[in-house]
Symmetry: C2
Subunit: 430 residues, 2 copies
């Protein structure tokens, strides 16, 4: 095995200088040079790095170290975070994707947020079944093997909880985009179309709605219009190429592109075909929009265009003057994102952000603005415009229509205030 000392007792020593080192030693010597500066003669050692960890002097661990690879110990803070005070118990709670620390458009499975209603069902896939019954010609029960023998598709979609940013309806509450916007992830799903399954059962002509039911202890269930089911709904068993994670519905979940996450029933065990919605708890007392007049709006399925700047943000403050990268994500449940604008002065002036990476239907896009910072105060905002021409509204515009009784469907523009010392906080512009 390795001769390297254990990492927590790594041999630290004062670096003695670069004199006499050949080419192979220059990288070590480089550690003393001012960054982004000339490597000229007799550089002054940077006091911050006069102690170095000379990992190159010890044989590292071999390929047999861990059965399943996980991130570096230096990334130990890039994890899902739960907020214990938000719900009665961890089994009926939520955790949040660490958006501030991610890049690109793929969310790694290990940090995808979760929302449970009765804890995490731990299912043996060999014994799991999916039943389709109700208004069908032939009720059917599928094993996982059955489903995997049907034609497969692969699609990258965002999943956003209807309650994402829900705490922000009454003003700036949570200090970090992980908490204000972290109930979203974006992965590649593999599975079958729900249409493929329904065609085998034969849907009767009077059918209009489906009930999707999970195999968790809550028996989480939601009504889904048949029209959407036949359009683009998937029944998926893999995310990012591997099996769904237990917390994300292993071994089988519904994928309802562009629609609120609560419909994406996890641990899917039953689909009933009917002619009207079921009025379940999760679509009556919950996941409805309480309007200013006290009435509740139901079945607001689509997640409207939205965006958030992930860095700089409260958990990712500015650390350097000069060149910097502003980055964020944007998405729309109505199709593709056409454009993202960014303001640095609280919405007075806007520049078009650069979108980099694939622009896909109902998927997150990644945007950037490269800028120079001289230490001035910044009021950062982003707004998404989707292919329908819809423009992400301000929170004030949203509240004019929706009031402040709502929990769900807050897609208002977020503001981060960057102080001259780089510290960044969640604020609201009146």
């Amino acid at each position: 095995m390795s001769e390297k000392p254990k990492s927590d007792v790594l041999d630290r020593r004062r670096f003695l200088g670069a004199a006499g080192l050949g080419a192979a030693g220059l990288a070590g010597a480089g550690a003393m040079l001012p960054s982004l500066a000339k490597a000229g003669p007799a550089p002054t050692p940077d006091p911050a790095i006069t102690e170095i960890q000379d990992w190159n002097r010890y044989l590292g661990d071999g390929v047999d170290r861990r059965p399943y690879g996980v991130p570096s110990k230096f990334e130990k803070d890039v994890i899902r975070r739960d907020v214990s005070w938000l719900t009665a118990s961890p089994e009926s709670s939520v955790n949040f994707t660490p958006l501030h620390a991610l890049d690109g458009i793929i969310t790694p499975s290990g940090v995808c947020f979760e929302r449970h209603h009765g804890g995490i069902a731990e299912i043996d896939p060999a014994q799991h079944r999916l039943m389709i019954h109700g208004l069908v010609d032939t009720p059917l029960v599928f094993t996982m093997d059955d489903i995997k023998r049907m034609p497969r598709i692969n699609k990258i979609y965002f999943l956003e909880c209807a309650a994402n940013s829900g705490m922000e309806w009454r003003g700036a509450q949570l200090n970090g985009c992980q908490f204000t916007h972290g109930m979203i992830h974006n992965v590649m799903y593999t599975g079958v179309t729900l249409k493929t399954l329904l065609e085998q059962a034969g849907v009767k002509s009077n059918a209009k709605w489906l009930l999707l039911e999970g195999a968790d202890s809550a028996g989480m269930d939601r009504s889904l219009p048949l029209e959407k089911a036949l359009d683009d709904v998937m029944i998926a068993y893999a995310m990012n190429g591997e099996a769904l994670r237990p917390e994300n519905g292993y071994p089988l979940r519904a994928v309802i592109p562009g629609w609120q996450g609560n419909l994406w029933v996890k641990w899917l065990r039953r689909i009933e075909v009917g002619d009207m919605p079921w009025q379940t708890r999760e679509e009556t007392s919950k996941y409805t929009d309480l309007m200013p007049d006290g009435r509740a709006r139901k079945y607001t399925f689509v997640m409207d265009a939205k965006s958030v700047i992930t860095s700089p943000s409260p958990q990712a403050p500015l650390k350097h003057k000069g060149r910097n990268v502003l980055t964020g994500i944007a998405w729309s449940g109505r199709g593709t994102v056409k454009r993202v604008d960014v303001s640095m002065d609280g919405g007075r002036n806007w520049v078009e952000a650069r979108i980099d990476g694939p622009v896909l239907n109902k998927s997150i896009v990644r945007f950037y603005v490269d800028f120079d910072w001289n230490g001035e105060e910044l009021m950062l905002q982003s707004r998404a415009i989707d292919e329908t021409g819809y423009v992400q509204p301000t929170k004030a515009e949203l509240r004019k229509i929706r009031g402040v009784n709502s929990v769900y469907h807050n897609n208002g523009i977020q503001t981060w205030l960057v102080h001259p010392d780089g510290v960044t906080e969640n604020v609201e512009i009146a």
Copy 2:
């Protein structure tokens, strides 16, 4: 905490029948129905599933279970595998991506293969530096923060080790695509272009080659033509949105699209600019092609078009007659994959496979053939055709030119023999 019994002592009981169950009980009753068959009256219980795990009766664990999410215990075999007999030590060895169990085009970071030359360097990113020197106007040293403040790009690329399928040069050796083809992965990288870094240093007019050097104990180094460096090479710090995994080069690696994996130097600490290649160990005694006349061909960088059927395959045998899905992956170092053909009779007849999911430059594509199987013997093959018109060759065609002295750059067509009982093995057609 949860009242659910520990999973390894889950309460198992005989299933007593479906009589009297309402809709909510149907999913349990469903477990007794023949799969893909009518849910008619009085179905005969399937003996294989008379014991069920009724996970829906117990409250599952909450959101605070694990800081970083990992796969289900039922997926414990979907891991990288090393072959201890292949190399002198695990620190100079390789492990393999479980291709047979994956789908889509994204390889999850946790199962991406690894190849180390001196073990895994465990690097503190705050202390890591990248130096650029040699034939430049201004030698520079970059911190990780410096690099992250430069304009970012996101690209999905395959990385294939030059030795992938290397054991197969002299005939069918290894029983599973994980071992014959598993030195490949395909992820989304985030980073900067190498061109961005070189422009800041200012490359002198007589510069033609670069040396890339890693911070591992082997100081792994390779020569790279400047032309390629200025074309599409990235210096990446993230894969699939999160930091590189330690084993894949954390915190910084080279991404050399379409070219052999050994050039993608991990733990990158130094780039020297010169006017000729360095003739390092890894490009002289290794990573060269030993030709039939005993001479070695050097600097064969590009990975030619290649494909493999991942299921059925020796580790993923056929289990059912009737409908089935054949799937696999194809890629080309010269650009996009234009078409994939599949044969079920050892290359006599071919059908065009369905490619599903994004078709991107120098990225894996996923292909499928949906077919019916009546228990006959199958000789499965796939061949990739890329945008240049290049057609993946048979192994016999390759050997005519290359002989059997080679280790590297075997992109020959693979054959899986499916026996009437579904057992599948690696064979070679003369």
